[in-house]
Symmetry: C2
Subunit: 231 residues, 2 copies
């Protein structure tokens, strides 16, 4: 039995979770524990409900820790207790994983220090705050850390995890079932390929969020350093 704990939270991005979950749910002998900071269902950034029935603190040993991302990730960074629980679970897990800005929570929990990692392209510059090595790839595998890029990268991440756990054949079967063979209407899915004006506009629109995240990341990391040096 593979035990997977997926952390969801208020104002997370629904697809960050549901993309990988479609893959997780198709893995053989899997137990998926959907946990949240307080064990209650959460509301995504667009108001959808996502069931969770377990507080993160009640999660024991797992094979895989997964953290989704989204606008609400900043709230996670403020909660030292939660980050300590994440570190406890992640330290013992076979795989420590995230999609999108979920990597910031893993980072703040000390789980990416010294690891190559990725996140949503617009948050990549924050990763060094946690001692991680920011890497512009859709899915980054470094030892037992697997981090995916923004939102839709969760599907690619899920397939990579499926292959790592059960081999290429199963991952291909899941890819076929999900008909994952995009035919992109535009080549605008990355800051490298999108029109520069769009990239600037996106950065501008989230400038305040980015600044907040950076500040929260620094605070969380400083608090962690204090805690671990005095501990």
């Amino acid at each position: 039995m593979t035990k997977l704990a997926a952390l969801v939270f208020d104002r997370m991005t629904n697809l960050d979770f549901v993309g990988p979950h479609e893959v997780f749910a198709r893995l053989p002998d899997i137990e998926i524990i959907i946990c949240s900071p307080d064990g209650k269902p959460v509301r995504t950034d667009f108001g959808m409900c996502v069931d969770a029935d377990t507080p993160l603190s009640a999660v024991g040993d797992v094979d895989i820790l997964f953290v989704a991302g989204g606008p609400g990730v900043g709230e996670l960074l403020k909660q030292a207790d939660l980050l300590e629980e994440m570190e406890r679970i992640g330290s013992g897990a076979g795989w420590v994983t995230s999609v999108c800005t979920g990597a910031l929570a893993l980072g703040a929990a000390g789980l990416l220090e010294g690891y190559r990692a990725t996140t949503h392209w617009a948050a990549l510059d924050i990763l060094p705050e946690f001692g991680a090595v920011p890497t512009r790839e859709r899915v980054v595998v470094d030892r037992n850390r697997i981090t995916g890029g923004g939102v839709t990268a969760g599907i690619d991440f899920g397939l990579r995890l499926a292959a790592a756990l059960h081999g290429d054949e199963l991952a291909k079967a899941i890819q076929l079932g999900l008909e994952y063979s995009p035919d992109l209407p535009f080549d605008a899915g990355t800051p490298e390929s999108a029109p520069p004006a769009l990239v600037e506009r996106f950065r501008g629109r989230i400038a305040k969020l980015t600044a907040e995240r950076l500040a929260l990341s620094r605070q969380a990391w400083a608090a962690r350093k204090l805690r671990t040096s005095s501990g």
Copy 2:
């Protein structure tokens, strides 16, 4: 204001809905009505809850009708009242759309007769039962019908709809935000590209489901013909 009605139902595939929803929710001036057969929340094929607060019968004029797919779509085909509501809403909608096997419901409601359309690759052969022209493309646009292929095609579909409603620039901005630029671990997302043995195994695994769907499709279509000829 763009009014969009999204039909969700028990045992639908979560990503069929959440993929497009991530795009819908980013459209300007959009009202998204999440409706279900009885107006209550539904459970996806893997047990996730999806909020719905409106019965399909209470949906009035909308600009867009959207239907997700999944294992539970057969139950929709059994409900003549529901299909009539779908036909009523779809007949007056600016766009009639689906992802994955949601096309079977649109078809049974008479909304694809004479239209080129697509669905999950493993269900494509059923479309002619409804007088639709099956088309192996990831997203098929025929006049005001837009149908997407299996599961993940919903993201491509969403971007095509965004472009149709608001132009390419907005669709590209959303694509950039969702970082939709897949880097496929394998080329196995279609029956044309996947190893033939995997395709056969998949068809075999869902053979019973496929036979049931075909039978339900024929029954629904025969009932509709009887109804519309006597009406």
